[in-house]
Symmetry: C2
Subunit: 350 residues, 2 copies
């Protein structure tokens, strides 16, 4: 009896403290309409300083800053987080430095297949496309699916036809060609130890920055609305028809005004099995974890334990930013109210 | 200081009690290897007794029982939950009564496009296919993707080629034809108020049992392993290339030995935006909710509030079963250790 009353007393005291903490958070959230910001990534992998030339490093930094400043200009000017995410991702899609849009990797068939998704944290509306071959900016097509179709996801020729109907800019497959990616495919094909017609075995899949990658953005606007988007060229030498996490709502992309906006990059199959982006939201919503705690739990613990590699970028409803990854490096950066673009490539300790 | 020590003391006491409770649960889980069972659905929608003939009602009941007994025979004989789910779903795919495999609905283009997914709760491995046109049993192809490819999801021609490489039974599009579904398409096309080349507007999408539906199964085997699978012919008159929730891990299908196995049916776009199947897991894992509480929260509250319709079937690691839906009816049933197949169609009060 004495133990019981002590136990219930302790529960009540704990709940009281949690309630006070939670009220504090709510009060904080209500007064933050001047808070805004954006966080982006350009892929995670074995990105090491020793393998990088100063020129290439600078090229990445310049492009990441340009992308951040594009988003910032929209947010600063009272634009929406959805507009900021789309505009920012177009900059990265149009750059041959990243595995998305121009610069996309090759499938095992020697073609390009592009995937993208976008989610609006205010309405929980989402749009996604997979396996498109002739759309210059897949992120724009994902947004069209969100806004102009009754569907969330469209793939292949159907997605392509939808782009035609909406007069979206289309390009030949040759537009996506870069010599670097073509050489990656040849190298990968030659290196395959156990080549089978069914593609590489599970155990032969290793993630490197040359073969994988994605671009992603998450933004909080002055209205307190969150949005996230992701775009990718997939995986070098993948079987054609393979879809990774980038166009999967909850795996590679998720946004919810209640908590945060997230975009992921890495070995997509693991992100799909773990529902990485949604899981960060769920840990915040259901366990009251902070963005940093939730993101670290999912990337540094759950992804790591399952054997997956990659990272995420995220911003929460209060403007907090997280960018954890368990690879050697991740192209990443963020920008806040003051307009200073912070860009990083390697692990923070480097 | 006094408050602090009291507070930390209370936290430690709470943690101690939670640890004891959790140990109790583990002990319970370890001794339940005689518990097993299976739960299935054949789609949710405006299924009303007044619109049903006794013959048709009986046909549904007979087929649902056959499916349950097929899964039961495997589980009873120490088979795996993965085998039970696949075998059960093949029965439903092969029946023209349900919108999956034979009996699939038509796209706006007059073709059939099939989607399916399966997940192993022990390993969190998953396999999914979307937009396949010539595979007799899409659930078998989803399992092949899980077992024989390094990927989780394959779509369109790539998925089709993978089926060819693995000698899976393929059929012509005509195999999927049923007069009932063809008439539904004509009716739907004629009824479209605002026909555009881009397909129906968001507000014109209404869910009826004639146009939607899915089949799904979730099983717990004697080893305590959970598995879930879902298969569908999609949505009548949908734009070709549209992918719904059935092949999306976390939306239409999810299994995790830690909590439960879930398969959903309904207006897929809402299931994708809410991550319905994963959300039930998350509420159990992160908030300690029971399967029933978690499933009701997601279907009767969150789905309802967002304006979506449908239902789920689920079984948890202790063999508890849940089958909530917010439509007039859902073809559903379950079977437990005693081998008695319980089948229902309408709301429980009917």
């Amino acid at each position: 009896m004495a133990l019981n009353s002590k136990f219930f007393g302790s529960i009540i005291l704990t709940l009281l403290c949690l309630t006070l903490l939670s009220h504090g958070n709510q009060a904080h959230a209500q007064k933050t309409n001047s808070v805004f910001g954006m966080v982006i990534h350009g892929g995670a992998g074995t990105i090491l300083k020793k393998n990088m030339t100063p020129e290439l490093e600078q090229a990445y930094q310049v492009k990441l800053k340009e992308a951040l400043q594009t988003g910032y200009a929209i947010l600063e000017n009272n634009g929406s987080s959805m507009d900021a995410v789309e505009a920012t991702l177009k900059i990265l899609e149009n750059s041959p430095l990243f595995n998305a849009g121009k610069g996309a990797v090759f499938t095992g068939d020697g073609t390009h297949e592009l995937d993208a998704s976008i989610m609006d944290g205010k309405t929980l509306q989402a749009g996604a496309v997979a396996g498109v071959k002739h759309v210059k900016n897949p992120i724009a097509l994902a947004r069209l699916v969100l806004e102009k179709s009754p569907h969330v996801m469209m793939v292949g020729d159907g997605a392509e036809e939808f782009a035609v109907q909406h007069h979206l800019e289309r390009v030949s497959q040759y537009y996506f060609y870069t010599e670097k990616r073509w050489k990656s495919l040849q190298k990968r094909k030659n290196a395959a130890v156990k080549k089978t017609t069914m593609g590489p075995k599970k155990e032969n899949i290793k993630l490197t920055d040359k073969e994988e990658g994605t671009v992603g953005a998450a933004a909080l606007d002055k209205e307190g609305n969150l949005a996230a988007g992701t775009s990718t060229g997939g995986m070098t030498n993948k079987m054609f028809g393979r879809v990774g996490d980038s166009p999967i709502i909850g795996a590679g992309t998720y946004a919810n005004n209640q908590t945060c906006a997230v975009s992921g990059t890495g070995h997509g199959e693991y992100f799909m099995r773990l529902l990485v982006a949604y899981d960060i939201h769920a840990l915040m919503a259901y366990q009251g974890k902070s963005l940093k705690e939730a993101a670290n739990t999912v990337i540094m613990k759950k992804l790591e334990e399952l054997g997956g590699t990659g990272g995420i970028i995220a911003i929460d409803k209060d403007g907090n930013i997280a960018m954890p990854f368990n690879t050697a490096g991740m192209y990443r950066g963020y920008i806040r109210e003051n307009g200073e673009a912070i860009v990083k490539i390697y692990q923070d300790k480097d």
